[in-house]
């Protein structure tokens, strides 16, 4: 088994882990900072599926992570995952706060676009 496949399985196990806070912390620490696009993509998916305030904050408001990732592939995957959520309430709330309060204009613009997409989805 290749290293990437092992890490993918670890990310999947963390996505289902009972210790949600610790799992989110580890995904944020190792997954979102991984140089491999595929690992960051899977990490963003796992965090969004957690659908908690902390996990969504990581992928919505942090520069270079989640929907703000420099890789279009990673960003689009994160957006698709957000649109697939059954309960979008927490994500919309965070996006609204980001549009209002974030200091980075790029982050605000991205949040605004995603917010619009979520409204129409």
């Amino acid at each position: 088994m290749e290293n990437n496949a092992k890490i993918k399985n670890i990310i999947q196990a963390l996505g289902q882990h009972k210790d949600s806070d610790a799992a989110i912390e580890l995904l944020t620490e190792l997954g979102t900072n991984c140089p491999d696009d595929e690992i960051r993509e899977l990490t963003a998916q796992a965090l969004i599926r957690k659908n908690t305030h902390e996990s969504l904050r990581v992928v919505l408001i942090h520069q270079g992570k989640g929907i703000n990732d420099l890789s279009a592939r990673v960003a689009m995957t994160a957006i698709n995952e957000l649109l697939s959520l059954k309960d979008k309430g927490e994500a919309i709330k965070i996006l609204d706060d980001t549009i209002k309060l974030h200091s980075e204009e790029d982050v605000k613009n991205t949040a605004r676009s995603v917010r619009a997409l979520m409204t129409f989805s």
Partner: protein, 152 residues
């Protein structure tokens, strides 16, 4: 004195005969001791060589010797076969005893297997299955991730 004549003639004849025999003995025999039996010198040469004796062995005697050798050979073969068979039988008995002893030891030995460890060694990818990873703590997963290395 006819008796005396006869006796004289007889004595002369005996003497002549004896002289003739002695001459024959000297001519025919290599017997230096001139051994005689009942008045006749033994014609056979008792000091003849073994080679000559062997040459004189008749065909029948040769057959008997050959048969004897064959019988002796068969007997030797039987002895050797019995010896080997005894060795084989004793080896088999020893082997059986050893096996029984080892089986007894095995029977009295408590064996435990770490099935999880064995499975992980036999199938190293198994420990990275999602099912297996889900049972581990976050710290363990972190260690595994960092252990994988360069991608983290």
């Amino acid at each position: 004195m006819q008796l005396g004549r006869i006796s004289l003639h007889t004595t002369k004849a005996l003497q002549a005969n004896t002289q003739q025999n002695t001459a024959n003995t000297n001519k025919l025999s290599t017997n230096p001791f001139g051994v005689s039996f009942k008045g006749n010198v033994i014609q056979a040469d008792v000091f003849q060589s073994a080679k000559k004796a062997a040459e004189k062995v008749s065909v029948m005697q040769r057959g008997k010797l050959f048969a004897s050798a064959v019988v002796g050979g068969i007997n030797s073969f039987n002895e050797a076969f019995k010896t080997r068979m005894n060795n084989i039988v004793s080896f088999g008995k020893k082997f059986t005893a050893d096996v029984i002893e080892k089986l007894d030891r095995i029977g009295s030995t408590e064996i435990s297997f770490d099935m999880s460890g064995i499975a992980n060694r036999l199938f190293p990818d198994r420990q990275y299955s999602v099912k297996n990873l889900s049972t581990k703590s976050v710290d363990e997963l972190k260690a595994m991730w960092q252990g994988i290395g360069q991608l983290a």
